[in-house]
């Protein structure tokens, strides 16, 4: 199809939350038959509203499926080296742990879950290095850490303080620096800038982009903020009710959105210098525990057809970089 190298790929990935609420079983279909192919050297954005399953998808991509989340079906492949793809769902916990940080790393929304509040940052770094490095000596890695901190424009003494002494933005940047320390091939960010103020957010995004440019690795970025996606992502997947409904390059998503949901999402964003009335998507997002039949967007869709109520459309490939799952656009290819 194209000559880009896929580093992470899922096949019909299904991960559900199975909960027992006061005696009755509830199944929340958070990730439902997702096929993703994420390339080397790109920033892939996953956009969607709260409760669409995007955080769960990230957890699954990070191969961190813990109860009550269960892997119901499908496969997740990481590319190790140049031509070897492994299905990571079958790995043992020890093998999973080995991949973390060196191959794939995770940037959480709140840095406090990573940085131990009672340890100086140096000790947190030491712990990380001790648990993940076997080949290189620790001194070497530490030198690397210092070099990286200076490169990223963080203050030199940042390792000698406690997390609470730093501002939220600085903490988040240290968290990202730590995630990038081992030069992982894939970095995954779950709303890494959402809790931050706009100016700080801009600084953090700047840093993420710098890291990606230097390491030429892959960043998968989840956020609900379309503005952030427009600024950093190379390609964007739009997620709705546990499914990817449209995927294209950033230019195409913003310029020629084809799925009605994407169109609504883009058109509802206010812009400076434009006071024309904008309307939001009618209705409310469905609950993952009680999905509508067929295409999950059909109850809110203004162009709904008979078939939308009955069957979920497959992807229609509009061109090399643009695919949409919508009956209005095409039949799609099933299976």
């Amino acid at each position: 199809m194209n000559n880009k190298l896929t580093v992470l790929r899922t096949e019909q990935l299904k991960a559900f939350y199975v909960l027992d609420v006061q005696g009755t079983q509830k199944v929340a279909k958070a990730v439902n038959e997702v096929d993703l192919a994420i390339y080397e050297n790109e920033i892939y954005g996953i956009a969607g509203e709260s409760g669409c399953g995007k955080t769960t998808l990230l957890k699954a991509l990070f191969n961190d499926i813990i109860l009550p989340l269960r892997l119901i079906g499908g496969k997740i492949f990481y590319r190790i080296g140049w031509d070897e793809e492994i299905d990571v769902t079958t790995l043992s916990p020890e093998e999973k742990r080995k991949l973390r940080l060196e191959y794939i790393s995770y940037i959480p929304q709140g840095s406090m879950s990573v940085l131990n509040p009672v340890l100086k940052l140096r000790e947190t770094y030491e712990d990380f290095i001790a648990s993940h490095v076997s080949g290189q000596s620790r001194e070497e890695i530490f030198e690397l850490a210092y070099k990286q901190i200076l490169e990223l424009g963080l203050p030199k003494n940042v390792l000698d303080v406690y997390p609470h002494q730093l501002s939220g933005g600085m903490r988040q940047r240290v968290t990202i620096a730590l995630a990038a320390l081992m030069k992982p091939r894939i970095m995954i960010g779950d709303e890494p800038t959402t809790a931050l103020d706009v100016v700080v957010q801009r600084g953090v995004i700047q840093m993420l982009k710098d890291i990606q440019k230097n390491l030429k690795n892959t960043i998968i970025l989840v956020t609900h903020d379309m503005g952030v996606h427009a600024n950093v992502a190379d390609r964007i997947g739009i997620m709705y009710a546990g499914k990817i409904v449209e995927e294209a390059t950033t230019e195409l998503i913003f310029g020629q959105p084809r799925h009605p949901y994407t169109q609504f999402l883009i058109n509802s964003l206010p812009k400076f210098g434009d006071k024309n009335v904008r309307s939001s998507v009618p209705g409310s997002p469905p609950s993952l525990a009680n999905l509508p039949s067929g295409c999950p967007f059909h109850p809110r869709c203004p162009h709904v057809k008979e078939i939308c109520r009955e069957q979920m459309p497959g992807f229609t490939q509009l061109d090399e970089n643009h695919k949409v799952a919508c009956w209005l656009v095409g039949e799609g290819n099933h299976g």
């Binding site: 199975v18 909960l19 027992d20 006061q22 005696g23 109860l67 009550p68």
Partner: protein
Amino acid sequence: MKILRDLFRDYRFTFSFSVLVIIVALALLSFVSPYDPTLWNVVPKDMKPSVEHWLGTDSNGQDIFWQATFAVRNSLIISLIAGLVSRFIAILVGMVAGYKGGWVDRVMMFISDSLLVIPLFLIFVMLAMLVRQFLNLVVLGLMLAVFGWAWDARVIRSVILSLRERDFTNTAILSGTGTVKLVINEYMPFAMPLIFSNLINNIAWAIGLEITLAILGLVNLNIPTLGTMLNWALFYQSILLGRWWWILTPVILSLFLFIALYWLSTSISEYLDPRTRIQRVGA
């Protein structure tokens, strides 16, 4: 009903519930007792358990089974008075201190902290010695209540403090709701499970303390309680003399009562805590 069915899935709840039913039934039996518990020598002394006297008789010439029914009843009455009255104080203090804040909070918390740090047991011993002749069930219950609220008032206060910061407090204020109604309508439902499980713990604590005081001989020994029964059994050296039926009755009763109350409180608070609810399902 559904709640009960869910609770009965927990073996600890089933066990403690059945034990408590038996113990309460025992306490109720005291109302049909053929003997007056304050009279001595109504039956032959030191008899082994038999058909006539199920749990035997003691050296005071009392029937141990019927004596035990009174003991259980009185111990429950003391601990219930202590538990309920201290709950009332704890709720009042906790809610007022938590909602009002400022100097009211500081004064109330100073009092409750003082109660927490002074050695309660010594105070009880001294107080009991001073008022021993007036020490009936109600007075003893109230005495335990007055000293038993401090910790729970603190816990309730902290719940209220965190709830006060939630927006729905402001929503209620903007809806024109008065302070008293606000606290009862908005905060009580959150504090209720906590208050309930603390009540059970407090009851267990009161029973235990009564037993301790009784063994030290600091209560009116003519009122049969689990504690005074133990005191008499020890006083007549029933272990040495091989009258196991006498000492074992209050020991086993209190043991089962404690286990039942403890499991009741843990199983109920686990049921009410949504986080553990999810954990149970995951396994």
